[in-house]
């Protein structure tokens, strides 16, 4: 009897571990990797994929959410980045990776409210299968991936933070992301390819 129970528990555990490791975030994209296209629902109900942006030179993909204080503190800067770089060929694509069952403030409805309230000028997409963030390897919100189109591929050129002061835009000394885009625009290689910032862990 005891053996049977032990076997059952072991089988359950192996099943569970397999399931967990399946869910486990793989390493995600590294600098130089090609980012796969995706198709996610925007707040207006339309599906958005990178391939729709025929004229874009690249993309500022930002994993963000409605309530994380670091994401909220970054909102105005994300809007400003879109204004500054969309016309230069690098539009912002914001993606909410969180599961509203875990973080109730991150429902699709609340995303719509956020866009209305903050007048987002860019798509704010819902990663409802929570798979795109995992493919990218995003760990937190906000988490930025700068992509550049090269021979039809979207190549990862920068990963990390928007700048060196998440909580206070007025005290920023180094605009990591903007510097990276400006280097790409000048045909140069990005100098600082990866940076780190405190953020809210992705909740799935």
């Amino acid at each position: 009897m005891m053996k049977k129970i032990a076997f059952l528990v072991a089988a359950l555990m192996i099943g569970f571990l397999t399931f967990s490791s399946f869910n486990e975030n793989p390493a995600g994209y590294k600098i130089g990797d090609e980012a796969a296209d995706f198709s996610l629902k925007n707040v207006d109900g339309k599906m958005v994929s990178l391939s729709q942006f025929k004229d874009a030179k690249g993309f500022i993909v930002i994993f963000t959410c409605n309530t994380c204080p670091y994401a909220v503190a970054s909102e105005d800067r994300i809007i400003a980045l879109d204004k500054e770089f969309k016309t230069k060929g690098y539009p912002v694509i914001a993606i909410n990776p969180n599961n509203p069952n875990v973080q109730p403030a991150d429902t699709f409805e609340k995303m719509k409210e956020k866009v209305k309230e903050k007048r987002f000028t860019f798509p704010y997409l819902y990663d409802d299968s929570h798979s795109v963030y995992a493919t990218f390897g995003a760990k937190k919100t906000p988490h930025v991936y700068l992509l550049q189109k090269e021979n039809g591929k979207n190549v990862v050129k920068y990963i990390g933070a928007i700048d060196d002061n998440v909580r206070d835009g007025a005290a920023v000394k180094q605009r990591f992301l903007a510097n990276a885009i400006n280097e790409l625009l000048q045909g140069k290689e990005v100098t600082l390819k990866e940076t780190k910032a405190i953020g809210c862990g992705v909740k799935v």
Binding site: S20, A171, G201
Partner: protein
């Protein structure tokens, strides 16, 4: 055989705990402990924090990076409180490093500490240039919280994950 069974059950229990989310903070002891609570929170920049805890040549520290608004952080705080209670006489110091914004110290952090009767030491890390200090805590840290680092005599073991008490105790015992 029985031991193995208990071990397996324990693992399954621990693993499934991760999935739950609405567990309220419950303090096991609610007797008169007000004298143990320190409402004044020391504020550190990273250099000061590093010197005081990460690079101390002697001492054992369980350092948890959290914030009052971080749900999974708040959820795991009881595990750290229990560890503090059980290991405070064994030379282990639990340090709860709040990454709340400094302007929320009076309005958010201190009321939170009082409400939840936190007995571990709480400090505020006020150093906005996280890109320069996150890798000094660990090269493996993405910057997401909760995150925990166990330090013994200046040697660090880092975890970017949520902890149950049992998991935390296992990791602590590995370095003791």
């Amino acid at each position: 055989m029985k031991n193995i069974l208990i071990f397996l059950l324990l693992i399954v229990t621990i693993s499934s705990c991760k999935e739950e989310n609405n567990e309220p903070i419950v303090n096991s002891k609610v007797e008169d402990t007000s004298s143990e609570i320190n409402p004044s929170i020391p504020i550190y920049n990273f250099d000061g924090f590093e010197e005081s805890y990460l690079e101390k040549p002697h001492g054992i520290y369980v350092i948890n990076f959290w914030a009052t608004w971080c749900k999974p952080c708040v959820k795991e705080l009881p595990a750290f409180e229990k560890l503090h209670e059980n290991y405070k006489n064994k030379g282990v110091e639990v340090i709860l490093v709040s990454l709340d914004f400094p302007d929320k110290l009076q309005s958010g952090v201190i009321p939170f500490i009082e409400k939840h009767q936190l007995k571990s030491d709480v400090i505020l890390l006020d150093d906005p240039d996280a890109n320069s200090w996150i890798p000094k805590v660990s090269e493996d840290w993405s910057g997401a919280i909760p995150a925990t680092v166990l330090v013994k005599d200046g040697k660090k073991v880092f975890f970017e994950k949520s902890f149950t008490y049992e998991e935390l105790e296992i990791e602590l015992n590995k370095i003791l």
